[in-house]
């Protein structure tokens, strides 16, 4: 049913349609609306049977999800930013134990400086945790990916994060087609766990594994993600059959056929990128888009196939590997290694910095002319950066950087002023 609905509410409705049996979560912006809505649905018994467990922290949220999943219950949680970091030890355990938990990450920056706005630093920091990560472009896709995620996770017995841009998607009202219970039931079978704790037939889960077997267990986690590379397109195709929509898959291209310049991105910024590309196409520029939906597993072959015929590409990413450059860009370059393709990295939108069509226009034209630096920081205020660098050069006791920058930007008069 078509609804004009907030992204978080739409995702909550989708989760409810997937019949989770245990939901445990701790509130953190911008994820809170999702679990609040689910809490209401459990309380009103609209979602039943399901146990909603208020936990005392994110660490507890993931720990409860591990316990309930190990007991054979379909388990869901959601988090963001520092909340995700706080649960990290348990995040790795969930993957290591092979428990098919589904978690929404409402992507948000990581502090310090504390910042509640969107970028992809949080889930990307869990790149190597063993969790799969799918990125939604729209709220419709966020809904659809969650439905696919339960099936994918349970088929492989591996956990998965469905990543949606915090605020930009979670707090946006837009048109979403919410499927019926019959449709979802027709797609997603009841949870049939590969392993479960049952007092009648006692087993143990979570053995200590020494050097003689640790690598094999880890290799199997990798092998499962390699299986996911085959399963994700299959599940998207089955989804299309059942729901009539293209959603999910590994990657998606746009106006890429004869493109000489390709823009690679993940998540909701793809919308603004596509609008910009349409305008540039009208002016005769041969430019196209590659959207990456599956960040883990990373679809090396599909990315290579999508880029191999272009002349140059820009990876536009909302994340920064400090001391290195791009995070997504590193994977994309791995995918095209040996092709001789010219690749640029553009770091954009950190901590919620707006990514505007005007800035993208300029960036893409510079990329087309190959005038970009290997790593570009979109809309970085160089005056403020240089002022701080100079301050540090002049004054040994130059003080806290964030406070200085706020002072220089005229946003704080009370902040400490050094030099």
């Amino acid at each position: 049913m078509l609804k004009q609905i907030e992204g978080s509410k739409a995702v909550a409705e989708a989760i409810a349609l997937c019949r989770p049996e245990v939901i445990c979560a701790y509130p953190i912006s911008p994820q809170t609306h999702i679990v609040e809505a689910l809490g209401e649905m459990v309380k009103s018994e609209e979602l039943a049977p399901c146990e909603f467990i208020n936990v005392e922290s994110e660490f507890a949220a993931m720990s409860v999800a591990i316990g309930s999943s190990a007991a054979g219950a379909r388990s869901y949680t959601a988090t963001a930013s520092q909340g995700l970091l706080f649960m990290v030890e348990a995040v790795y355990n969930a993957a290591g134990l092979g428990l098919p938990i589904v978690m929404t990450v409402a992507n948000r920056a990581i502090g310090a400086p504390i910042n509640i706005w969107n970028d992809h630093s949080d889930s990307l920091s869990q790149r190597d945790s063993g969790w799969m990560q799918l990125f939604a472009e729209t709220n419709q896709e966020a809904v659809d990916l969650h439905i696919q995620a339960f099936k994918l996770a349970e088929e492989l017995s591996m956990p998965i994060m469905v990543c949606m841009d915090g605020f930009i998607l979670t707090h946006a009202f837009e048109r979403v087609d919410i499927p019926t219970q019959e449709q979802v039931d027709g797609y997603l079978p009841p949870f049939d766990p590969r392993q479960s704790l049952d007092p009648k037939e006692p087993i143990s889960i979570g053995a200590m594994v020494g050097p003689e077997a640790f690598m094999e267990v880890k290799y199997l986690a990798h092998a499962k993600q390699m299986q996911a590379l085959e399963l994700i397109p299959q599940l998207a195709a089955e989804f299309k059959q059942q729901f009539g929509r293209d959603s999910g898959g590994l990657v998606r291209t746009y106006r890429a056929d004869d493109a000489e310049t390709m823009i690679v991105a993940m998540g909701s910024v793809l919308g603004t990128v596509k609008d910009t590309v349409d305008e540039l196409r009208e002016q005769g520029h041969k430019i196209g888009v590659l959207g990456i939906i599956s960040y883990r597993p990373f679809p090396l072959q599909e990315v290579r196939a999508a880029l191999v015929n272009c002349k140059r590409f820009v990876v536009l990413e909302k994340s920064l590997a400090v001391g290195m450059g791009g995070i997504v860009a590193t994977d994309v370059r791995m995918a095209v290694s040996g092709t001789g393709l010219k690749g640029f990295t553009a770091i954009a939108g950190l901590g919620g910095r707006n990514i505007t069509k005007a800035s993208l226009h300029k960036l893409f034209l510079e990329a087309e002319q190959e005038k970009l630096e290997p790593v570009t920081f979109l809309d970085l205020d160089w005056d403020v950066v240089n002022k701080q660098l100079e301050r540090e050069k002049q004054n040994r006791h130059s003080g806290p950087i964030a406070e200085n920058i706020l002072y220089d930007k005229g946003m704080s008069t009370s902040a400490a002023k050094f030099g």
Binding site: Q4, F167, H171, F173, E174, R175, T272, D275, I355, T356
Partner: protein, 193 residues
């Protein structure tokens, strides 16, 4: 694409206003996208929210910098921030005030832009009268429907019924209806003047 920017203060229902506008547009079969200028909202602090309308899917995710319409929920903002920033030359302006633009010192703006797309509305008073709370958002949405002719009053009422129920819905519908009629009357009076 038609882009509306709503300015107000935390607690005035600014975000709700854009959400309801998007629901009204959806009720009329259009695509709509509403989103707030995200931040740590505090009561009384300036808040901005956005609503885009189109007859096709809306993909753009940047904030609205060149609006086709402005709804200003609090006239005291005029002294604090440049609410008119980027407004298109033929853009609509709806201001929450019991006074005319001339009375509050915006006569020049009306001279530049002409009267046909500008209106003031005593929205806070209408909220107090019908809902018992000084929340101007619903009267302003209904007033905007009359000013722009872009929404039917009944679509606004549908959006109200989706958001509220019982007495609060009834009060808001009464406030919306009176606001719609007031602005419509203003527009007709001007057309005949």
């Amino acid at each position: 694409m038609f882009q509306i920017r709503v300015h107000g203060r935390g607690g005035q229902g600014v975000v709700t206003a854009t959400e309801m506008l998007s629901v009204a547009a959806f009720e009329e079969g259009r695509h709509a996208q509403a989103f707030p200028s995200f931040g740590s909202e505090r009561t009384g602090a300036p808040v901005v929210a956005f609503c885009r309308l189109d007859d096709k899917e809306i993909r753009l995710r940047e904030p609205i910098m060149e609006p086709d319409a402005l709804i200003i929920q609090d006239p005291t903002l005029l002294h604090q921030i440049d609410v008119f920033s980027g407004l298109k030359p033929d853009g609509y302006v709806l201001l929450n005030s019991a006074h005319s633009f001339e009375q509050i010192g915006l006569g020049e703006l009306v001279k530049q832009r002409g009267h046909s797309k500008m209106s003031t509305l005593p929205a806070t008073e209408l909220g107090l009268k019908h809902v018992g709370r000084p929340i101007p958002n619903v009267p302003l949405i209904a007033g905007f429907a009359a000013l722009s002719g872009m929404f039917k009053l009944e679509s606004v009422i549908k959006a109200i019924n989706e958001k509220f129920s019982g007495k609060v819905a009834e009060g808001n519908i009464a406030a919306a209806t009176e606001a719609y009629e007031l602005v419509k009357q203003q527009m007709e009076d001007r057309a005949h003047a």
